[in-house]
Symmetry: C3
């Protein structure tokens, strides 16, 4: 059993952006030489999210629209007196700021249609994701 | 320290269905012989969710109704041009597609009222759940 | 590699309350003597949540207000015939009842603005959080 950890850079280019990071995370799992175990992805930010779903452009537009209906960017928020990004914090809480994926045969055990997404809700920024692989 | 992993089958019978899988997961934890640690449940699908809550029939109806209000099945979604299940993808992102439960004394350390649920939002289908137990 | 686990007490004082538990969890990580790995926080309750975000009073009010819009306390729920807290169950499912944080250098690897919150949606009650640290 061992632990391998690495921090990845994820630069975003828009305020709201859904970025695939499957191949970046897959490289860390390869480097770890861990064959069976789990891989934690954790965003050290408060206006981001990490999740897995299908990488289909229409669906990505639906995700952005659904979040806009549930937590509108232009809503009336108290935190916006301090920093105009309360919607981004709230979306991060709703979607979740971390993800754990099983490792099988030295690779991420994702399903056929699964992509790992990093969501920036308050970009563009230089974001980081902490990857921790635990296993044997 | 060791890792034990197994894939479970979860067949759903309706489009939207909340299925208890606590006993199936408990059996995997027993098989693993791991006494203390963590158990990751991961769905390799993109239109499902895994969560823990109370197994009470009125509450299960409330969960389905709340999801229908937040992400209506009959909403207008771009992804539905390709596959008529965007609502199911969006619900999976909102609820989360994985769950990690602690293990104590060789069993799932669930609270008195906690059941582990697999949610299918685009059934009926043959679904799978990857169980990964890490501990000693 | 080893596992260290401990149960924390989290007393809430209001029906809906967001409580910082970062320092309590940090103490468990110190006690564990684990330097690199992961820390699972799991609530054994069905009307609570655990998440990480910024500890800013205006934002905390926004979180409560956003949850009230998405899942109103006074909504019409079937489960309320049995126990008047369906909203609390539904909020717990939406936000998530557990959180996994990486450990680096013997400490929680949280970002600058991240606080670990325990959310009680059906307090005031004596709540518990199970902390499981896995690593080396």
């Amino acid at each position: 059993m061992s632990v391998y950890s690495k921090e990845l850079s994820v630069p975003s280019r828009k305020r709201v952006e859904l970025l695939s990071m499957t191949s970046q995370v897959g490289s860390v799992v390869s480097e770890s030489k861990i064959k069976t175990g789990i891989c934690l992805l954790f965003s050290p930010h408060t206006t981001t999210a990490i999740f897995t779903n299908e990488n289909e452009s229409n669906l990505l537009a639906d995700i952005e629209e659904a979040l806009e209906k549930l937590i509108p960017v232009g809503g009336s928020y108290r935190h916006n007196r301090i920093d105009s990004n309360s919607d981004a914090h709230l979306r991060g809480i709703l979607v979740s700021n971390s993800l754990t994926v099983p490792i099988e045969g030295g690779s991420l055990a994702l399903g056929t249609w699964q992509t790992i997404f990093f969501a920036d809700f308050d970009g563009p920024r230089h974001r980081r994701v902490k990857v921790t692989v635990v296993g044997e």
